[in-house]
C-alpha cells in the first residue's frame, strides 16, 4: 500500500479547489478535512516514533531525478501542531462571517495548510521553494481578505516573502552548482568529502538564513509582520502568527541540522543567536507599547521568533567533524526544547489572536482602552487570553515550560550561558505585556460601550486551545522524544 504522506498535501489542496468552486460547503468541508488531518498527523507521529523516518519517492523515479518526500520527527511535529491549529481556527472561523472576511477564506486557508504540509514533508530543495511560494501566495490572499485597508500590508508581505524565497532559491542554485543534486540528503553525501567547501556552505547558509529570516520576520527584518498580522481578519491572524511563519523556520532548521559546520558557520550561528536574543527583547518591548490588542499579539510573534533561532548556536557544534557525544546530546535537547516552544507558541498564539478576535467581535474595536471590564462581558475570552499569555511566557504547567526546561538544560550543558538572558528575560517580558492588557480587561467598566454577544463556538475554541497550551506541559515527554527521530 503506497505511503499516505503525499495525501497531507494533495487532500487539503483538492478540498480547497472544490470549496473554491462551491463556497457554500466551505465550513463543513474544511472542518471535516481538518479533523481528518489531525487524526492522520497523530498516526504519522506514532509511525515515525515507531519505525523511524518515512521516505516516499514520487512519480516512480528515485532521487536525484525524481522528487522524494521525507517525514522525520521534526516534520511530524510541525505537521501535527499545524493540523491542530487549523482545526481549532476552522471551528473559530465558522462562528462569524466578519471573522472570515469573505467566503473565499475556506479555500485560501485550506490551500495555505496544503502548502505548509508540502514544506514540512519536502526532501527536495527546489520542491521546498515551490511549497514556500504556495504558502506565501495563499497567506497573502488570506491577509488581503481583511478588506481595502489590508491591501497595502498584504502587498508589502508578498514582496518581502517572495524576495526571501528568491534568496533561498539562489542558495539552492549554489548548492546544485557544487553537489549537482537538489536532494538535501544526497547533497550532504557530496559535501562530506574533506575538500574545503567551507566558503560555499557558509554562503549557502548566509543566503538561506537571510532569506528565511525575512520570511519569518526576524528583527530587523520584521517591519512587515505587525501590519499584516493585525490587519488580517480575526480568523486569519491566528493562522498567520501561529503556523505560517513556522514554514520558513522549519526550512531554517532543516538546513542548519543537516549542512556540515566549521568555524565560519559556528560564528554565523552565534551571530544569528545574538540577533534572536535582540529580537526577543525588542519585540517584547514593542508589544508593551502598542495601543491596539492585535498589534500587541503581532509584536509578541516578532519576539517569539527570536526564541526559535536560538536553536542554531546550540545545534552547530554537533555538526562539526570533530563533534563528540556531549555536543550531540546538547543538540538533541536543544531540538526537543525548541520544537516544544514552537508548538506551544502555535497553540498559545492562535488562542491569543482568537481571544482578540472574540473581543473585537464583542466591542467592535481592538483598541485596548475601549476593552475595559471585558472580564465581566466576555469572561471566556479574557480567561483564554490570560492562560495563553501564561503559556507563551513558558510558565508551568504549559508546554512551553517543558520546552524552556530542555533549552535551559541544553544551554547550561553547552556552556553558552549567555543565551539564558534572552530565554529568561523573554519569559518575564511576555508575562509583562500580557498582564498589562489583563489589567485593563479587569478594570471597572465604563458605561455605554456596546457589546454584541460572541458566538459560543468562538469562545469555546479559544478557551480549549489556550487551556491545551496551558496544561500540555505535564504530558509532553513521549511526544518530545519523537521530535528528534531521524533528525541527526
Amino acid at each position: 500500500m503506497t505511503s499516505l504522506l503525499p495525501a497531507f498535501v494533495v487532500v487539503p489542496a483538492l478540498v480547497a479547489t472544490l470549496v473554491a468552486m462551491i463556497p457554500r460547503i466551505g465550513a463543513v468541508a474544511a472542518g471535516a478535512t481538518a479533523l481528518a488531518g489531525v487524526v492522520a498527523a497523530v498516526a504519522l507521529t506514532l509511525r515515525v516514533s515507531a519505525d523511524g523516518p518515512v521516505d516516499v519517492a514520487l512519480g516512480g523515479w528515485a532521487e536525484p531525478v525524481g522528487i522524494a518526500l521525507r517525514a522525520d520527527g521534526l516534520s511530524a511535529a510541525f505537521v501535527l501542531f499545524t493540523a491542530v491549529v487549523v482545526l481549532v481556527v476552522t471551528v473559530f472561523a465558522s462562528g462569524s462571517s466578519a471573522a472570515r472576511g469573505t467566503p473565499f477564506f475556506w479555500a485560501l486557508s485550506l490551500a495555505l495548510w496544503s502548502g505548509l504540509n508540502a514544506v514540512y514533508v519536502a526532501a527536495d530543495l527546489f520542491n521546498t521553494y515551490v511549497a514556500l511560494e504556495l504558502v506565501t501566495v495563499a497567506a497573502v490572499g488570506c491577509v488581503a481578505l481583511g478588506g481595502r485597508s489590508a491591501a497595502a500590508p498584504a502587498l508589502r508581505y508578498l514582496l518581502v516573502a517572495v524576495a526571501g524565497s528568491l534568496w533561498f532559491l539562489l542558495a539552492v542554485g549554489l548548492l546544485y552548482a557544487r553537489t549537482g543534486t537538489l536532494s538535501l540528503r544526497l547533497a550532504l553525501d557530496v559535501l562530506r568529502d574533506p575538500t574545503d567547501d567551507g566558503a560555499l556552505v557558509a554562503t549557502v547558509l548566509i543566503l538561506a538564513t537571510v532569506g528565511l529570516a525575512l520570511k519569518s520576520a526576524l528583527v530587523p527584518l520584521h517591519a512587515w509582520l505587525p501590519p499584516a498580522h493585525a490587519g488580517a481578519p480575526a480568523a486569519v491572524s491566528p493562522l498567520m502568527s501561529a503556523v505560517v511563519i513556522k514554514a520558513s523556520i522549519f526550512v531554517l532548521y532543516r538546513l542548519w541540522t543537516s549542512l556540515p559546520a566549521d568555524a565560519a558557520t559556528t560564528s554565523l550561528a552565534v551571530l544569528v543567536g545574538a540577533v534572536g536574543s535582540v529580537a526577543v527583547l525588542w519585540g517584547s518591548l514593542a508589544a508593551l507599547r502598542q495601543a491596539r490588542l492585535k498589534r500587541v499579539v503581532a509584536y509578541s510573534t516578532v519576539a517569539q521568533v527570536g526564541y526559535f533561532v536560538l536553536l542554531l548556536p546550540l545545534v552547530v557544534p554537533a555538526l562539526r567533524p570533530e563533534a563528540d557525544d556531549a555536543a550531540r546530546a546538547v543538540a538533541e535537547l536543544a531540538v526537543q526544547g525548541t520544537v516544544a516552544m514552537v508548538a506551544a507558541h502555535a497553540l498559545a498564539k492562535s488562542a491569543m489572536f482568537m481571544a482578540a478576535g472574540c473581543l473585537l467581535h464583542a466591542r467592535g474595536t481592538d483598541e485596548i482602552a475601549a476593552l475595559r471590564g471585558a472580564v465581566v462581558t466576555n469572561p471566556g475570552a479574557v480567561l483564554a487570553f490570560g492562560v495563553a499569555g501564561v503559556a507563551l511566557a513558558g510558565l508551568p504547567p504549559a508546554l512551553a515550560f517543558s520546552g524552556k526546561w530542555q533549552l535551559l538544560t541544553a544551554v547550561l550543558e553547552s556552556g553558552q550561558w549567555w543565551w539564558l538572558i534572552a530565554l529568561l528575560g523573554g519569559g518575564l517580558l511576555t508575562a509583562a505585556y500580557t498582564v498589562r492588557v489583563l489589567a485593563v480587561f479587569v478594570a471597572e467598566r465604563e458605561t455605554g460601550t456596546e457589546n454584541t454577544p460572541v458566538p459560543v463556538r468562538m469562545t469555546a475554541a479559544t478557551l480549549v486551545t489556550a487551556v491545551a497550551a496551558g496544561i500540555a506541559g505535564v504530558a509532553s515527554a513521549g511526544w518530545l522524544a519523537t521530535t528528534t527521530v531521524g533528525v541527526f
Binding site: T2, P6, M21, L58, P64, V65, I67, L108, G141
Partner: protein, 305 residues
C-alpha cells in the same frame, strides 16, 4: 567565434543597462517600459544559452503577460503613491555599489563551486533516464514525468493567486467588470486573429512532447486569446460562479490525477502505454488553466473594486 562573443557581451551589457534604468528610474511608467525591454533581451540570452523552452516561456509569459498585467495597472495610475523622496544621486550610487559588491562576492564563491563541481550532475542522470520516460523531449519529461509533483504544486500556486486576486473584489460574489473597447478595426482584427492563435496554442501544446514547447508556452498564448476576446467584447465576461469554476478546474484535475495514480501505479507515476497520452491531456488542462488564471489576474487588476 568573436562575433558570438561580441553578441553575448552586447546582450549582457543590454540586460545590465535596462536593469539599472528600470530599477532606478523615478517615473513608474518609464521603469515598467524599460523592464519590458529587459524581458526581451533576456529572451535572447536564454536562446543564446541553449534553453529554447525557457526563451519561449520568457517571451510569452514574463515579457508578454507580465507586460500586459503591468500596463493595465500602471496605465490607470501614472502618479506613484509613494512619497517622491528625492533621494540624492549619492544614495543611488551607494545602493549600486553595495549591489555590485554582493554580486562580485557571490560570483567568487559560485565560480569556485562550479570548478569543484561533483562529477555526476542530476541533469546527466535525467538525460540517461530519458528513454524510459513517457515523453521524448527532455524538459517536458522532467516537468511532467520526473518532477510532476513540482508542476502540480506550481499550478495550485497559480490557481490560488488568481483566487486571491478575485477574492479582493468588493461584493460577496465578485464578478469581473472591465471596460470594453468595440472599435471596429480592433474587433475585426481580433476576430481574424483568434482562430490563428488557437491553432498556434494547440500546436505549441502538442509539440511539447518532442521539441521545445508545451503547456506553459501555449498557456500564455491562451491568455492572450482570452484577454483580446474579452477586452473587445467578442467573448462575454463569465459570471462570478463560472469564473471560480474555470479558475479551479486546472488544479482540481491535476490533483485528481495525483489521487488516481496513487491508487494504481503510485503517486503521480505515469507509465506507458497510457503515459504519453496522459501527459498531453495534462498539458492541455495545464494550458487552459494557465491561460484562464493569468487572464483573471489581469482582469481583476483592471476591475475597479
Amino acid at each position: 567565434m568573436t562575433a558570438a562573443v561580441v553578441l553575448d557581451a552586447l546582450l549582457a551589457a543590454g540586460v545590465l543597462v535596462t536593469a539599472v534604468v528600470a530599477l532606478w528610474h523615478r517615473e513608474r511608467a518609464a521603469s515598467v517600459t524599460v523592464f519590458l525591454g529587459f524581458g526581451v533581451l533576456l529572451t535572447a540570452i536564454w536562446a543564446r544559452l541553449g534553453a529554447p523552452d525557457v526563451a519561449l516561456a520568457e517571451a510569452a509569459l514574463a515579457a508578454g503577460v507580465t507586460g500586459a498585467l503591468m500596463t493595465t495597472v500602471v496605465a490607470g495610475r501614472t502618479r506613484s503613491t509613494a512619497p517622491a523622496s528625492r533621494s540624492s544621486r549619492a544614495v543611488d550610487v551607494a545602493e549600486g555599489a553595495v549591489a555590485v559588491g554582493v554580486g562580485v562576492a557571490l560570483t567568487a564563491v559560485t565560480v569556485g563551486a562550479m570548478r569543484s563541481a561533483a562529477p555526476v550532475l542530476t541533469g546527466d542522470v535525467a538525460t540517461e533516464a530519458l528513454p524510459d520516460s513517457v515523453v521524448a523531449h527532455p524538459v517536458t519529461a522532467v516537468l511532467l514525468d520526473f518532477r510532476t509533483y513540482d508542476t502540480m504544486l506550481e499550478i495550485v500556486v497559480l490557481a490560488v493567486a488568481a483566487l486571491a486576486a478575485v477574492s479582493t473584489l468588493r461584493d460577496a460574489a465578485p464578478a469581473l467588470s472591465v471596460p470594453v473597447d468595440r472599435r471596429p478595426v480592433l474587433t475585426g482584427a481580433v476576430a481574424a486573429l483568434t482562430p490563428v492563435l488557437v491553432v498556434l496554442a494547440a500546436w505549441l501544446l502538442v509539440a511539447g512532447s518532442d521539441r521545445p514547447g508545451g503547456a506553459f508556452q501555449s498557456g500564455a498564448v491562451v491568455t492572450g486569446i482570452v484577454l483580446l476576446t474579452v477586452l473587445t467584447g467578442t467573448l462575454r465576461l463569465p459570471s462570478a460562479r463560472t469564473t471560480r469554476l474555470l479558475l479551479a478546474v486546472g488544479s482540481t484535475v491535476f490533483l485528481v490525477v495525483a489521487l488516481a495514480t496513487a491508487l494504481t501505479t503510485g503517486w503521480l507515476t505515469l507509465e506507458n502505454p497510457w503515459g504519453g497520452t496522459a501527459v498531453v491531456a495534462l498539458e492541455a488542462v495545464l494550458a487552459v488553466s494557465i491561460g484562464v488564471c493569468l487572464a483573471v489576474l489581469a482582469l481583476a487588476g483592471s476591475t475597479r473594486a
